[in-house]
Amino acid sequence: MPRPTPDIPNASMADIAFLMLVFFLVTTTVANIKGLSIGLPPPPEALPPEDIKIPEKNLFKVQLNSFDNLLVEGEPWTGSNQELTDAVKKFILNNGRDPLSSDSPEKAIVSYKTDRGTSHKKFIEVLDVLQKAYYDIYADQAGVTNDKWREIASDPKKTPEFEQLYEKGREGIPFAISIAEPTKVGG
């Protein structure tokens, strides 16, 4: 007579599964690589000497001093961040309408200067505002929302549709935020 096969208790199966689940939830670190993406200019020695004069009207000057005070086009900025984004957008898309503002989006340059004493927090806050202006413009031109645009720009080669939208959004408008070497007043 064969011996009866012993039963495997299955009441605790759920407990085990749950325990493992909790364990993996706790130990898995979600890689959070999100942030503001910029491209650095080539090494200092590889750059041609700076004798190219950019007309004043094609420059939008944003400055932060060592006390984190914001200067826009030489004047202290009192408006909100959204207003600054709008001002940058207006400058880039001026297309020669206002003779004192930029000639065309290709020629427009947003110059962003900081000081060695500026805090990183403020630097990021203002950089965020400036980048928003460009991303909004690209998104508008491609006919998508800002969130969608940033998703496309993060990986333009993902699908042919993305590639097409990316081309459409970027057309004729270079991403021209120039971050200058900080001045040495503070810090």
Partner: protein, 136 residues
């Protein structure tokens, strides 16, 4: 059955490495709304900048941490070359440096890091940020 559960638990506790580097500088990341996501995690190298956590041992001056050690700005070129050596030849120019910089750090030290990165030809940069809580 509890024995099995404990065995599993111990097994994973022993085999799983929680994190390969412990960060020894303050990391209160700034907030931003216009964030972009990096796709290829293998192509990212991290630099941590901030005030050391152990102030009595390392002082209050902000420091740069790469892997497990504090480095001087001058050593960044070497560090970049090491990071590039770990990648496939075709992917070396796609290396992105993620700068995790504490809120209170001054621009000065970050600018020094950027200058070295330019020299090392690692020009893709990402300032790590947290999502902004309120709409601006």
């Amino acid at each position: 059955m509890p024995d099995v559960v404990f065995m599993l638990l111990f097994f994973f506790m022993v085999t799983t490495t929680l994190r390969d580097t412990s960060i020894n500088v303050q990391q209160r990341l700034p907030e931003a709304s216009q964030m972009r996501k990096l796709q290829r995690k293998t192509l990212v190298a991290y630099l941590y900048v901030g005030e050391p956590k152990k102030v009595d041992q390392w002082g209050k001056e902000p420091k740069i941490q790469a892997n497990d050690v504090f480095i001087q700005p001058k050593e960044i070129i070497q560090w970049v070359n090491q990071a590039k050596a770990n990648l496939d030849e075709s992917e070396r120019d796609q290396l992105t440096v993620a700068l995790k910089v504490d809120n209170e750090t001054k621009r000065g030290i970050i600018a020094d890091v950027e200058t070295e990165l330019r020299k090392a030809n690692a020009r893709k940069l990402l300032y790590s940020t947290n999502p902004k809580r309120e709409e601006f």
